[in-house]
Symmetry: D2
Subunit: 83 residues, 4 copies
Amino acid sequence: MQKIINRLKRIEGQVRGIQKMVEDDRYCVDILVQISAIQSALKNVGFSITERHIKHCVSDAIKQGEGKETIEELLNVMKQFSK
Amino acid sequence: MQKIINRLKRIEGQVRGIQKMVEDDRYCVDILVQISAIQSALKNVGFSITERHIKHCVSDAIKQGEGKETIEELLNVMKQFSK
Amino acid sequence: MQKIINRLKRIEGQVRGIQKMVEDDRYCVDILVQISAIQSALKNVGFSITERHIKHCVSDAIKQGEGKETIEELLNVMKQFSK
Amino acid sequence: MQKIINRLKRIEGQVRGIQKMVEDDRYCVDILVQISAIQSALKNVGFSITERHIKHCVSDAIKQGEGKETIEELLNVMKQFSK
């Protein structure tokens, strides 16, 4: 998980960078490009965590014959993400 | 712009909150719900900046008969955002 | 699966409806609203199929201790979808 | 606009293709890949129409000093699209 924490620290820095860009009245399009980069980075963190979740929690629940609820929960969070 | 900076500060705090959740080994789905909340918040900041950009830079360029390039640039950033 | 086929038939009709709107030179924003409705409908079909896939293929593979590849494949298609 | 109508006809054919895939009980992941291809194609049609809209309606409204409402409307449809 250290890798994910490092990625989140980098994202935190990028968000701070955008604050600075807004304060410095930088060109809107340049700010939007940066925001879009953070979106991608966050999405990738989301995928890594989803991967982990499926490989562990979901798989374990399925193996124990208790997959139904865990799968519903997974699908709900996937739907929320896709909004 | 102060409102946008405040929203970015809140997002920065939320990103830090997720780091904590990962360190504390919190349930994956709870982390994913938080990431999805940040995605929404960032998207809204992106829209506010896009709105500002269209109302000022793009409108001014169009009024001066120089809209072509600015519109292309706007569409490109919109495409990047929608990825 | 009949429900999914019915939904796809409705989507097909909606796509034809947009062709007509474009031919009739209807207001761009009205066309965009319709396209966005189709996007939502398609996304929902995608979720239904994903649900089915996880509940059957993925679950079966995991139960047989062969989940690894199926999970990778699932994650890849989820990534493609989120673009 | 003929190009856009042609693209919509192709999309209509792709939607029909997916119905066939579902009827033939094809592998879920293959169906999902096709749905994701239609999503991209529709998104591109949406961008082409948005481009047209900005270059004509929105630009004309701005030139006549009546951009405010048109820009609001554009932003609303962009928000709907990004869901």
